[in-house]
Amino acid sequence: MDMNLKLKIWRQNGANDQGKMVDYSLSDVSPDMSFLEMLDVLNEQIINEGGEPIAFDHDCREGICGMCSLYINGEAHGPDRGITTCQLHMRKFKDGDTIYIEPFRAKAFPVIKDLVVDRTAFDRIQHQGGFISVNTSGNTQDANSLPISKHAADEAMDAATCIGCGACVATCKNSSAMLFVGAKVSQYALLPQGQVEAADRVRNMVAQMDAEGFGNCTNTGACEVECPKGISLDNIARMNREFFKANI
């Protein structure tokens, strides 16, 4: 059954604008629509009425690129679990609901416009060590010359599934990026290829994380709950261990 909704959406015309919540109403919303398709319909309505559409980030619309964000009714990526906003469907809401839509908020994620934020701080952390230093040569050793236990490979994969969306930061009361950085540090820490540079990697990435203005971790665990990819808090513990190891 189609729904009528009230929407309260953050509008901010550029980084230096103060910004405010603006009310919209939208009718005939199909429960099979994704949340972003609902915003598409709203934007079409705004354009037809002569207004400026609401800016929001999105791209793949299948939960993997990490481009979409949104803080919906006080939760990163909205009320469902294990998904990004583009995978949230309107069947999770009821006719007559009021929905609050805000950008991911953190000092290190300044607003660009409306619901679009700048997450390049994540890239800058990766520039400091989110890699294994191996050139492309065409005569790298054979891939099977170094067996890796399935458990380690699977665990590395679980850490590597992070999509870099920033929900962990938006959720954390300290705006900490420890889940994101921990996942990357863990992926390499779990693999033999990552050992050579392990100490420098964790030191440099943590230093950049601090320089970007992300907060520290106080083990609340909200990030793990809101993470669309189920990245485990264990990764933060592993990063702390790696950091400790690198500094003694």
């Binding site: 015309n13 791209d59 793949c60 619309r61 400091q128 492309t136 790298t140």
Partner: protein
């Protein structure tokens, strides 16, 4: 201009090695004086940017997304092929080469495909060294799965997120170079035009999507790696921002556009649910390893299911038609994508579709769950397991293999695919056509290269599963970094290209004129309005089955729509700020031109091959009755189109395809 593919002489197995041994190189000190622009940071662009920077070139990389890690390569699910023969099942470079040429319905360039197969093994080595966590077996060695159109297991994978992991590998290699200052990364930038100086590509004009600023960037060579153009159909599995504009801009400046009609309609996507739909979601082909595709055998059952009076699980085995297994016993559910898609359309057109719109078939895992469950029970030492235990163990195995895909399906459709079969239908996925390139991957503009999905060269008329990732990384890691040196060796004394040349000024001026036109047009209809209408024309008349009348109509309709677009498009907001509608308007303007050329290309190609099916060209008798009929006598060529103004007036250049190492045969998967 005559097309010169520049394929080296000599036996096919030695061409690439001999060629590499004889091309010119640029010495390391001189590389520091040479700039290269890379547009797009997916698997091809990201790997190329990283490798060129490792070699010592100064790289400027551009992406419309907010980070190179978000390019749409990230959405590739199933895997990447490589002729490693780790399974000892008879794989080899030749067999991968043969499968790819045959899978492409003999419309690819032999020498390029052989090179692709040759470097495929290096890709896996490189990615493992970068820390890409491929799936492994309990012995710690790499695991493989099988994909459509082949008889070996050569596909490497990382759960259902192989594209993500490979892209993050390329992104990590880029990060290392960005950190060292060898790559300057421009996120949220869109290429608006290419700049030619003395006939050579020497730079691009970009728009900063945050500030709206129009910028000039110069370089000694320009590499286009901007992906495919499936979004010309509006609905596709591509990302919302995926577009043809970079490719189209170079086309308008002299790069020939090849085989635009070769488009892959992927058989296993989630069906359309309504008019609000903004994109379609793929369910990986890897699912066909274990899923069986069927529709009801009787029309009345199909109707009862459509009306909600019956459920798929109500039908017994003999009331089901496993039509791929029936029609293609040798390959069964693992026939290539074009064949599987047409077979699904054939059943649905005949009235056997299973959802409300009649455009869906089942992909069923019940048998796989039973098979795996029994196997696991044995492994656990239970020789007489109960049905519940088999079911539980089997579901665990299926979850480990495809868990993220099943979750995705559940979230979108609101049905549990562990309990009831998935509903799937074909959707536009990948474009085999693209910018024409020679063996060096250079376009017909000197100094302008095109790699990855954006070029045309390796997949012929149909791409096999798990070959896109292979091609993107082969081009970026192992091919372009060599071939571009041969061209750049002439530029060691050129010095920096100044951006105050009149050519830059002129290009910038015309870009700004178009932007100003859009924001001042005061039309009445949104960009999406036109994009959706274009998509409908494409899907209905230039989609899975094409005929001369429909294609002729499509050309006229697209031309009319394009004229209406320029008169009546409405772009709110201003030019000097973040304005997604403005960005979309520029992309749709290019799709409206490409769409017409696409239809024209399909009209000219009066044969059926791969993803291009002309209703006039089907087998009428014998064991292949109803299958696509290729015409090697008249159409064994690449169509390379030269831009002259109106898409309808584009000039056709033919590159005749020669097959010296593979015999041209009817492609049979029976």
């Amino acid at each position: 201009m005559a097309l010169d593919s520049k394929v080296p002489q000599g036996p096919i197995a030695d061409k690439w090695t001999n060629y590499k041994n004889h091309i010119d190189l640029v010495n390391p000190a001189n590389k520091r004086n040479i700039d290269v622009i890379v547009v797009g940071t997916g698997l091809a662009g990201g790997s190329a940017a990283a490798t060129l920077a490792e070699l010592g070139y100064n790289v400027k990389a551009f992406a419309y997304q907010d980070s190179p890690r978000r390019a749409h390569s990230i959405a590739a699910q199933g895997g990447i092929n490589a002729a490693k023969n780790y399974q000892g099942d008879g794989d080899s470079t030749y067999r991968l080469f043969y499968d790819t040429v045959k899978g492409g319905d003999y419309r690819a360039r032999e020498a390029n495909v052989y090179r692709l197969a040759e470097v495929s093994a290096n890709i896996i080595d490189q990615c493992v060294a970068q820390g890409v966590p491929f799936a492994r077996d309990y012995g710690g060695l790499l695991d493989n799965r099988s994909f459509g159109g082949v008889l070996v297991s050569r596909t490497f994978y990382a759960k259902g997120q192989t594209g993500q992991q490979l892209l993050l590998g390329a992104y990590s290699a880029m990060n290392r170079q960005i950190g060292r200052g060898k790559i300057q990364m421009y996120n949220r930038h869109e290429m608006m035009d290419v700049v030619l100086v003395d006939g050579k590509a020497r730079g691009i004009i970009t728009r900063n999507l945050v500030t709206g600023e129009v910028e000039r960037h110069s370089a000694h060579a320009v590499v286009i790696a901007s992906g495919g153009y499936g979004n010309v159909f509006f609905l596709s599995t591509n990302a919302m921002g995926s577009n043809v504009s970079a490719s189209w801009k170079i086309h308008k400046k002299g790069a020939y556009f090849a085989n635009p009609c070769y488009t892959q309609i992927h058989p296993t996507c989630i069906p359309v649910s309504g008019d609000h739909q903004s994109k379609l979601t793929l369910m990986s082909e890897s699912l066909r390893n274990d899923g069986r595709i069927w529709v009801p055998a009787k029309l009345e059952d199909a109707q009862a299911i459509r009306e909600g009076k019956k459920k798929p699980t109500d039908l017994s085995e003999d009331e089901r038609d496993y039509y791929l297994e029936r029609r293609y016993p040798a390959f069964g559910n693992l026939v290539p994508r074009d064949v599987a898609s047409r077979a699904a359309k054939e059943r649905c057109d005949a009235g056997f579709g299973v959802n409300a719109t009649g455009e869906a078939v089942y992909l069923d895992f019940a048998d796989a769950i039973k098979r795996y469950g029994r196997e696991q029970a044995l492994i656990h030492g239970d020789h007489n397991p109960s049905a519940e235990k088999i079911d539980k163990l089997g579901k665990e195995v299926v979850k480990a293999k495809y868990g993220n895909l099943f979750q995705m399906y559940d979230k979108i459709v609101d049905e549990n695919p562990y309990e009831t079969p998935m509903m799937i239908y074909p959707a536009v996925h990948y474009t085999m056509g693209g910018t024409w390139v020679d063996y060096n991957l250079m376009t017909t503009i000197p100094g302008c290269y095109c790699i990855g999905e954006a070029n045309f060269s390796d997949h012929g008329a149909n791409r096999l599963g798990a070959s896109a990732l292979m091609q993107g990384l082969a081009d970026g890691y192992f091919v372009l970094p060599y071939t571009i040196g041969d061209y750049l060796s002439d530029d060691i004394r050129t010095g920096k290209i100044p951006t105050d040349l009149p050519e830059f000024e002129e290009a910038e001026k015309s870009v700004k004129e178009q932007i100003n036109f859009f924001v001042n047009n005061n039309g009445t209809k949104s960009v999406d309005h036109f994009h959706k209408r274009l998509g409908k024309i494409m899907w209905n008349k230039v989609g899975m089955a094409r005929n001369a009348q429909g294609l002729t109509e499509a050309m006229a309709e697209i031309k009319a729509l394009r004229e209406e677009f320029w008169k009546d498009v409405k772009v709110p907001g201003s030019a000097d700020t973040y304005n997604e509608e403005l960005a979309k308007a520029g992309r749709v303007a290019d799709f409206l031109e490409l769409g017409e050329l696409f239809a024209k290309d399909a009209l000219v190609r009066e044969e059926s091959c791969g993803g291009h099916f002309r209703e006039e060209s089907a087998e009428t008798e014998g064991p292949q009755k109803g299958e696509a009929k290729r015409d090697d006598v008249n159409f064994a060529f690449v169509s390379a189109w030269e831009y002259t103004g109106e898409p309808a007036d584009a000039i056709l250049h033919k590159e005749q395809l020669e097959f010296n190492d593979i015999e041209l045969k009817t492609r049979s998967y029976k």
